[in-house]
Structures are given as structure tokens and as C-alpha cells.
């Protein structure tokens, strides 16, 4: 019998039969991993098996490629954010994007740590929207679609970077952009890790990450559309901050 124990964040829960559930969780050492939770469809487990909940997981299966069964113990609930429309939308976008983007059973220690840190911030509205933008940049990076914003793609200079090429994902300097500027994506300073972001910069940053999630990541995963939870989050942010 194969067995491992790890911590994890619940990403998705689907009913399986009358009383069980198939749970997908993000773990640091095994990435996105699924398993059956016996009794997971019942009332006792329902509060624990909510997207975003942090849990202690034990997985058992007879063979490595079997779905296997999870035993789940609660560590930390995220129910506190559900009554905040923006934070709930953020939680939905994070869990949906992880289910959408990550391959199964590939270790994701850095992304796991970033995800937990982001979820921990969700009750602090002054901090989490920028953390969410940086988390999307990390998601692009960890799935092999990172942007190169270190220097201008045209001149090689690291000064006055103001745009991102929608085709290459590389930074472009203000002077080098010239008459092409209106065809390039904006590059807000917060994407370069510079200081706190204004509302406009935050929304510009989400335009950039959204472009590459949609044009690079999604086609590589079979051209499925991005989860609508992300679009709902961005729309809500535009209403709140725009």
C-alpha cells in the first residue's frame, strides 16, 4: 500500500456517489493531487472540504496511478472571506486558476507557499489585490510562460520600461515603443516590483497577466477558455477600484 502525508489547500470538491467526494488539493511536494474522501459528501465534512481550506492530508492507494483515498483533517478555514464579495471572488479565481493551469502530481513548493501567503492576506483588502497580481505573474512563470521584464527588447536598456510586447512578453522602453506604443500592453511599475500600486496600475497589471493567461497558457492546455471566475474577479475589481 502506497501512502504519503502532506499539507494542502482544497481546490475543488465534486460529489462522488451518494456519500463520497473527489477532492483536488494543492500540496507543496505533490502539486495538484486528487483523491476520494469517503464521507466527503456528508454534512460533517462539508465545512472542511471548502475551496481554500488548509488541511492535513494523508493519501493511500494500492498503485501509484490509482486515484487513491484522502484522509482530511482541518488546519485552517477560509470561511471568513465568504461574506466579502471581492475576497470571495479572489478565492474563487485562485482555486479555479490552479485547477485550470497546473498539471497533476508535479511538485509546486514555491507556488504553494505563494498561494498560502495570498490566501492568508484575503481579509486585508489593502494588501491582497497587489499580492494577487504578483501571484498571477508567479503562476505564469511556474507554468513556463514567465514574462521577461528585465530590459527593453529593442534597446536592452533597463531604464524607463513602459510597455510589454503582447507577442513576446518582453518589456519595451518608452522611447523604443515610438509609434507602436498603442499596440503594446501597459507595463505598470508594480509588475516590476516597484512600490505599492495605484488602482489604475493594478488594473493595468491584470490586463497584462490576463492577456498572457489567455493567449499563452490557455492554448497550451488544449485551448480551453480561462475559468470565468477570473473574469468575474477582474470585473469586480474594476467596479471597486476603477
Amino acid at each position: 500500500m502506497l501512502e504519503w502525508r502532506d499539507e494542502g489547500v482544497i481546490l475543488a470538491v465534486r460529489r462522488h456517489g451518494e456519500s463520497a467526494a473527489i477532492v483536488e488539493a494543492l500540496t507543496p511536494s505533490r502539486g495538484r493531487h486528487a483523491g476520494v474522501v469517503r464521507g466527503g459528501g456528508g454534512r460533517r465534512m462539508a465545512p472542511i472540504l471548502q475551496p481554500g481550506s488548509q488541511v492535513a492530508l494523508a493519501w493511500r492507494a494500492r498503485l501509484e496511478d490509482h486515484l487513491g483515498a484522502f484522509t482530511v483533517e482541518p488546519v485552517r478555514s477560509r470561511a471568513g472571506v465568504l461574506d466579502d464579495p471581492l475576497a470571495a471572488a479572489g478565492l474563487a479565481a485562485v482555486t479555479a486558476l490552479l485547477v485550470f493551469a497546473l498539471p497533476e502530481r508535479e511538485a509546486q513548493p514555491d507556488l504553494y507557499a505563494r498561494t498560502v501567503a495570498l490566501l492568508d492576506l484575503l481579509e486585508d483588502e489593502s494588501a491582497w489585490p497587489l499580492a494577487y497580481l504578483r501571484w498571477e505573474m508567479a503562476l505564469l512563470n511556474d507554468t513556463g510562460f514567465g514574462l521577461d521584464l528585465t530590459a527593453c527588447a529593442v534597446t536592452g536598456s533597463a531604464e524607463d520600461l513602459a510597455h510589454v510586447s503582447p507577442r513576446t512578453g518582453r518589456a519595451v522602453g518608452r522611447a523604443a515603443a515610438g509609434e507602436w506604443a498603442d499596440r503594446l500592453l501597459p507595463l505598470p511599475p508594480c509588475l516590476l516590483g516597484q512600490g505599492p500600486a495605484s488602482a489604475a496600475e493594478l488594473l493595468d497589471g491584470l490586463t497584462v497577466t490576463g492577456h498572457f493567461l489567455d493567449r499563452w497558457l490557455a492554448p497550451a492546455l488544449g485551448d480551453r477558455p480561462l475559468p470565468p471566475a477570473r473574469a468575474r474577479l477582474v470585473a469586480r475589481m474594476r467596479r471597486r477600484f476603477g
Binding site: P85, A89, L91, A92, A93, P227, R232, R239
Partner: protein, 197 residues
């Protein structure tokens, strides 16, 4: 009657929630033993409901008329509409017997994973009802889950312009519940929704 028809009946019964092949076989055997008292009336009731059951054109409840009994009852026109996810939730509210207004069945919740969007739910019909009926309050009675609450927030935004009060069911300690046995999330929700005595 051939054994095949019996097996077909057992297979159909086994597809009902709560029944498996063994319990379906027991149920069919019981029905056969009580043919006169149980099986024939059951078959007749099933045939009648199958012929007449339909969704209420107003609220989405299940009934045998185009307008369900609740929507057709003028005493239920209190100006309050209780929004529920599905018909089972409506029936649960009716069992409690405390809500005297009308309902609106969404037919699900927004779901990030299953790509269920607002257009897949009966949200436009709800907004249309706000104008057609003299609605003063919409009560969101949706699940205390991420999808349920996301749907509630979306509906609250959509109907904000209509000038109708929007409320949601409280969340917290269940009747008969002891704090020691409650999960962190429920205690958090209960503390946030505490009331002054």
C-alpha cells in the same frame, strides 16, 4: 410477466437516490407483495405526475400547473422573494413554515469549475420579476459555500439598481449545536454575525 420486465424495474429503481441494486430488489419485492395496497396506487400516481409535472413559469418550482400553488396564492404576495438554489431548498424552507412570501429557484449556482455562468441560471427572470411584482425585499437563501456566496454577491450587484432591499440568511451556530463540536469556519461566521442582546 417476464423476468426481464422485473429486472428492468429493479434496474430503474436502483437508479433512484439512496437505492442500490440490492435495496432496489428489496423494494420491488415489497411492492409486488403489496400489489393492491401500494404498487397499483404508486404506479397510478407516478403516471399522473409524469403526465402533469412541470416547472412553474414564474418561480421555477415544480408543480402540476403552469403557476405553482405558491405563485398562484395571492396571500403569498408579501413583497418578499426568497432566492434558493434548487427545488429541494424551496421545499426545506416550506417545511420550516416561517416564510410567507414567494420564491425564486435559480437552478444552480455560479461555478468556476463547471463553467456555469449567470446566463445558465434564472437570474434574468428574477430581475424581470422585480419590476412585474411589487417586490420590496429579496432574501438570498443560498448555500454557505464559495459558489453559493459568489452567486449571492453577483445577484446583489445585479439587483442593486432596482432599489430593492437584499438580505441573506444568517450563518452560525445550528440549533442544538455545541461550540466544542463546531468547525472553525462556522464559529468565524457566527462571531461575525453576532447580535446584541
Amino acid at each position: 410477466m417476464s423476468a426481464d420486465r422485473l429486472e428492468e424495474l429493479i434496474a430503474l429503481m436502483a437508479r433512484l437516490p439512496g437505492l442500490g441494486p440490492r435495496s432496489a430488489r428489496r423494494a420491488v419485492l415489497h411492492l409486488i407483495k403489496k400489489r393492491g395496497q401500494l404498487m397499483a396506487p404508486l404506479a397510478q400516481a407516478l403516471a399522473e405526475v409524469a403526465a402533469s409535472a412541470r416547472d412553474c413559469v414564474v418561480c421555477g418550482n415544480v408543480g402540476t400547473q403552469d403557476r405553482c400553488e405558491i405563485c398562484a396564492d395571492p396571500r403569498r404576495a408579501t413583497g418578499e422573494i426568497c432566492v434558493v438554489e434548487d427545488v429541494a431548498d424551496l421545499w426545506a424552507m416550506e417545511r420550516a413554515g416561517v416564510f410567507k412570501g414567494r420564491y425564486h429557484v435559480l437552478g444552480g449556482t455560479l461555478s468556476a469549475l463547471d463553467a456555469v455562468g449567470p446566463e445558465d441560471l434564472r437570474i434574468p427572470q428574477l430581475i424581470a420579476r422585480l419590476g412585474e411584482e411589487e417586490v420590496t425585499e429579496v432574501i438570498l437563501a443560498l448555500g454557505a459555500t464559495l459558489d453559493g456566496q459568489t452567486t449571492g454577491h453577483y445577484i446583489a450587484d445585479e439587483i442593486a439598481a432596482a432599489g430593492v432591499a437584499v438580505s441573506s440568511l444568517a450563518q452560525g451556530v445550528p440549533v442544538g449545536g455545541e461550540l466544542d463540536y463546531l468547525d472553525d469556519g462556522t464559529i468565524t461566521a457566527a462571531l461575525k454575525a453576532r447580535k446584541r442582546l
